[in-house]
Each structure stands twice: as C-alpha cells, then as structure tokens.
C-alpha cells in the first residue's frame, strides 16, 4: 500500500517534477480517451457488409472480422483449414512435451523434432500424398504463411548457424576460412537482394522447363541469410565460455566433440540466448518482405484486402488494417521476448535450483 503513495509523492516532490507530471497527465488526457473512442466505443464491431462502416470515423473491426479466415489462411481452401490447425496443434504439443521433464535427452529430442516436424508439416500442408488433396503453395497465405516462413527460418538457421560458428572457430584453415567467407558474404548482402536473386534471377540458371517452387526458393534464401547472422551470435556465445571449461572437460577424459557438446555449447547457447531471440524477432518481422516474391503473408493479405473496391469507403479501413497488423506483430514479438526471459531465468544457475 505504501508503494503507490510513495510513487505519487515522488511525482510532485519538486516544482519541476510536478510540472512534468502535469504535462504527462495532460498528454494522457488528450490522447487516451480519443484513442479508446476510435478503437473501442465508436468502432464498428458487427454488421453484414462494408456499408456498415461507411461514414464512421472510427475503427472498422467488421473489416477484420469478415476477412478473418483470409488473414489467418490466405487462399488456402476452406475445407482444408483443419490441416493447418492440426499442424499447429501438433507443433505446440511437441514443443510442450519437449520442455517438460518427461523428455530426458533434450538435445537429441530437439534435433529429431527439427528434422521430423518440417517433413510432417510439409506433407500435411502441401498434400498430394496419403489421400490429402494437393494445395499449391501459391494458395498459401496469411498468418499461416508468415509463421511457416518465420518458424522454418528460425529452426533451420539455428543448427546451420551453430555449424558455421563451430567451423569458423575450427583449427583447420580451409574450413575456418570458408566459413568466414560465407558469413561475410551473406552479412554483406541485403536480404532483398538475395530474395531478388532467388525469385527473379534463379530461373535464368536452370534449364528451361525446370521449375523450383517459389516458396522453397524463398525459404532457402531466408535460411542461408539468417544462418550467417545466427552464426555470429552463437560464436559470441562460444567465445564467452572460459577456456578452462573446455580444458576441464578434456582433462576428465572427454573427447573434443564430447567436451564441446556437453560443456561448451550448452554454456555458449545460454550466453547467446538474448542475441538468438533478438535475431528470431527480427526474422519474424522481416518475413513481410516475401510480398516481393509474390506471396501474400499476413501483412500482404491485409494490404490486398484494402484494394477490394467494396472496401474503398474511407481511410478508416486502412487505419484499422495497419493498427491491427501492428498489434498482431507486437503480440507475437512481445511473447517471443517474454518467452526468452523465462528460458533465461530457467537456464541461469540460480534458477536451476
């Protein structure tokens, strides 16, 4: 009880503080109520068509509601939406099982998951086998596509980046220099340029008639690029582990790889975790660039919805769409960063008790 009172007292402890408090209060009073008016009280929540939003200068949540299926699934056929839900649910269950104490060998289990799950998800989502109706990747879209690209990139960049980081620290000069070359080239290129190469120029280098799926090309470009970024973050982690740790492990009779896998890498990952999460969040946000490759991710579907002539009824539709997009990205990225705080706490030596 005393803490809020102490806080309030601090707010007016000096004339300057009182003035600042007053200015902030004034600012809040002039911005917060109009915002809630716009977003909640005057907003259109229900209705049948775009006409219900016409001439209302407030958020049009009806627009989001009527297009919610598209925002989630893009052009994925409605009768097959269960496949996306099943895929998401399986992934979630697998992740929870992985982080529960039931699973003993976490490294092995997570490696198995990163290999098995993408294959499973790919078969389930793409279809064409086991009696599943084929769904061309051109029909994929919405939040589902955003998550597919982001999760694939994070999941593939981690092991690939770890390999690159180890290669870069290798004592074999050819391996180390190749890794340095690769990392520097990738980090020196803009992702847009790489995507342009993969989407527009790649078809020049294959014989006519050969077609590689555009989504596959995009995913590969994302993996190649982000693995290099991830490698540097992980290398930072590895270098932060004192040399004594490795030497102690060797003196216990462990081989080089055992020492790395059991002593150095776990500590390195723990040290690198904030950086890894940082990269993951920026991967999440940079997925919106795939609009350039002609694919409609979450933001692309929203932008595409704005050009439906039926919804050209005023600027409130555009404001609602971008506010909603910002909100969804914030929720996803904020949960990612909270999750990393939780993991850090769990992994820290104090939290382990």
């Amino acid at each position: 009880m005393t803490r809020p009172i102490a806080f309030l007292r601090k707010c007016i402890s000096s004339p300057l503080n009182a003035l600042i408090t007053l200015v902030i209060l004034f600012w809040l009073l002039t911005t917060v109520p109009p915002f809630f008016d716009w977003a909640v009280f005057k907003a259109v929540w229900n209705g049948q068509s775009s006409r219900d939003c016409a001439n209302v200068d407030a958020a049009c949540w009806l627009f989001i509601r009527l297009r919610f299926q598209q925002i989630l699934y893009g052009g994925y056929p409605a009768t097959e939406h269960w496949r996306i839900m099943l895929c998401g649910a399986t992934g979630l269950v697998a992740l929870i099982t992985l982080s529960s104490p039931v699973v003993r060998n976490k490294v092995f289990a997570s490696l198995a998951l990163t290999i098995v799950f993408p294959v499973f998800a790919g078969i389930l989502l793409r279809g064409g086998v086991f009696g599943l109706a084929p769904v061309a990747t051109a029909q994929w879209g919405g939040l589902m596509l955003t998550l597919v690209v982001a999760l694939w990139t994070i999941a593939s960049a981690l092991p690939f980046g770890l390999g690159l980081a180890l290669a870069r620290r290798s004592k074999m000069p050819v391996v180390a220099n190749l890794a340095i070359f690769y990392i520097d080239v990738m980090r020196g290129l803009p992702l847009v340029g790489l995507l342009f190469l993969a989407i527009v120029l790649f078809p020049l280098f294959v014989p006519p008639g050969v077609e590689v799926n555009a989504l596959v090309r995009t995913l590969i470009a994302f993996s190649l690029f982000n693995a290099a970024i991830m490698a540097e973050v992980i290398r930072g982690g590895i270098q932060s582990v004192p040399k004594g740790q490795y030497e102690a492990a060797i003196s216990l009779g462990l081989s080089h790889w055992q020492a790395m896998a059991l002593s150095v890498i776990p500590q390195a990952i723990r040290a690198a975790l904030p950086g890894i999460v940082n990269v993951s969040i920026s991967i999440m946000k940079e997925t919106t660039i795939i609009l350039m490759a002609g694919m409609f991710d979450f933001l692309g579907v929203l932008q595409g919805s704005l050009i439906d002539p039926d919804w050209l009824i005023g600027d409130q539709i555009r404001q609602t769409a971008y506010f909603f997009a910002g909100l969804v990205f914030f929720v996803i990225c904020f949960s990612l960063s909270r999750y990393s705080v939780y993991i850090e706490r769990k992994l820290s030596p104090q939290g382990n008790k």
Binding site: A138, L204, P208, M292, S305, I307, L312
Partner: protein
Amino acid sequence: MGLAEKQEGNVHFKSICMLSASMLLAGGVAAHAGTLADVKARGVVRCGIGPNNPGFAFRDNQGNQRGFDIDFCRAIAAAIFGDPNKSEFHVVEPRDAFTVLTTGGVDVLTHRFTWTFNRDNGGGAEFTQALFYDGQAFMVRKSLGLKSVKDLNGATICAAQGTTTELNVADYFRQHNLTYKIVTFNGTDATRLAYDEGRCDAWTNDRGSLASRGQALKDPSQHAILPETISKEPVGPVVRDSDTQWAHLVRSVGFATVAAEELGLSSANVDEHAKTSTNPEVKRLLGVSDDLGQKLGLQPTWARSIIKLVGNYGEIFDRNLGANSPLNLSRGLNALWTNGGLLFSPPFR
C-alpha cells in the same frame, strides 16, 4: 496509378538481365516445346498480376480472387483446359514484372501495364492487344468551381512518384503554356491522403483510378473529375516475344470475349446459340461449323468455354469495374466500336 507506374529508369538494368537471359537460354530454347506445351504439362496457366489495382486483381470477403485482370487469366485457362480454375496468380511488382515474364516465372502478364513503344520493343516482351483504355485526368474540389484543366493555371498538383503521370502533366502544361507546381508522394494512397488534407489543389492519376480511389476520400461527394483526358493509357496482356503461338492464343482469347459481346453471346445464352444459331460467324466462333481452335492448339469449343465460364467482354467489365461493381465506371472508350468506343475484334473467319 498502378499501370502508369512504369519505372523507365530500370530499362537499362532490365536489358542487362534479358541479355544474360537470352545468352544463357540460347542453347535450350531451340529444342524447347513452347509455352502452351509447358502450360498443358503443368496443368495450370500462371498469370502475373499487379499488387495494387482496385477492380483489376483483388480478393473479396470470401477470399475469392476477382477482378478484370483475374478474369482474363481465367478466360485463358478456360480456353486451354475448359476450366477457369486452372489458373494461378503471381503478384509481381511493376519493376520486376517484365524480368519475371522473360525468365519464365509467369506465362502472361495480366497486369494493367500501359502499352508503350519502349515496352513493346524493349526486348523480350510484346503486348498482344489493348483490352482496356484509360487516360490521365485531374480531380479537384467542387468548391473551387473549376471547369477545365485550363483553370488549373498556377495550381499545386499531387501525383505519385516516379510514374508517367508526372511526365504527362509536365508535357501537357508546357504545351498549353500553363504554370503549375507538382508535389509527389510515394504511392497512390499517400497521394490521395495529401490531396484530402488540402496539400494541393488537384490530384492527378488515371481516370479509372481517380474514380475508384476517390471513394476513399473523406467526403467523395465534394470532389469532381475535370473533363479533359491528357494521356493515352491503352492496357493489355503481355507475353514473351519468343513464342508466337502463345501470343496468338492470348490475343485470340481477348478478341473472343469482344466478339462474343458484338455477336450477342453471353454466359447465359451461349449454349442455346451453339445449338440454334444460324449466324455463320457465331457458328464458326463456337466451333459448330469450323474448327478455329485447332489453329491455336486448342479444342474446337475453346471460345464457347470462355464465354460460358467467364463471360463476354461486357460481362467481365460490368462485374469488375462497371455497373455491377462498387467502382461503377462507365464504358466510355471501352464500349464496342459500334457504340462509339474503341473495342473491336477482327472477324472470326
């Protein structure tokens, strides 16, 4: 608007890409069977569509892809497969579109590109015909009481950056000895917002675009479009110029929809006419008395499929841009030549 966003500055880069493309592909192309064979083998025709053209390519509330450009792509699929759903849409940015087409990323651009000399002869691509005629116009506030573009002397004009709209204004105003100040913005939406906020006296874009985007102004009834049209913007499909068979096919699909409207054939009555019509041209077009489809590598019923499954030109226009759409554009130049418009089809014989 979208169609006018022709990044001419990229021509140099594009020609380098195309040069390297042609060098790389030179060996392979000779033995290559052609676009139609590829499309048939793939089972789907791929069309490049624009990212930002209301009424031309968009998704409705139910998630269906609709629009004028979408319907022409579906018409091509109907002609080849007898099924308009065997079409796939790839969104391509205007600056990449020609490179994507010439490298085989799509089979045809139904993209709202203006047919210009440079684009037609720039290497690698060709326009099959004009299927939509537009032109640049000006939108002003009614309260200003302006009657013609001549009244805009000394005005501030909002336009989208890097488009030909800017160049057209310069040409037109210089030609008529008028002074003006142009303010450019990145994209159509930003331009509309600036105009709506009163940053300029007039907003210039293609007439169709002004009509559609104008719906998003705060109070559309306070604005009017001036009568003059200061540029020609003929819009049509683009194909690779290395494959004449495919170019003929795409051109014939467009003409079939126009001819159908001329001959009074629509999706509702085409089956009836196929059975009972005594008009020799109808019988030829619908494959009753002649097999025109064979010359395109298609079934005799190719045109009948287009008309039945997608519609004639008038139906496509009305559904997406005209009276049956929120845009409510009048046919104007896009009426049949018999009604004072520019649309006609060569005789099907």
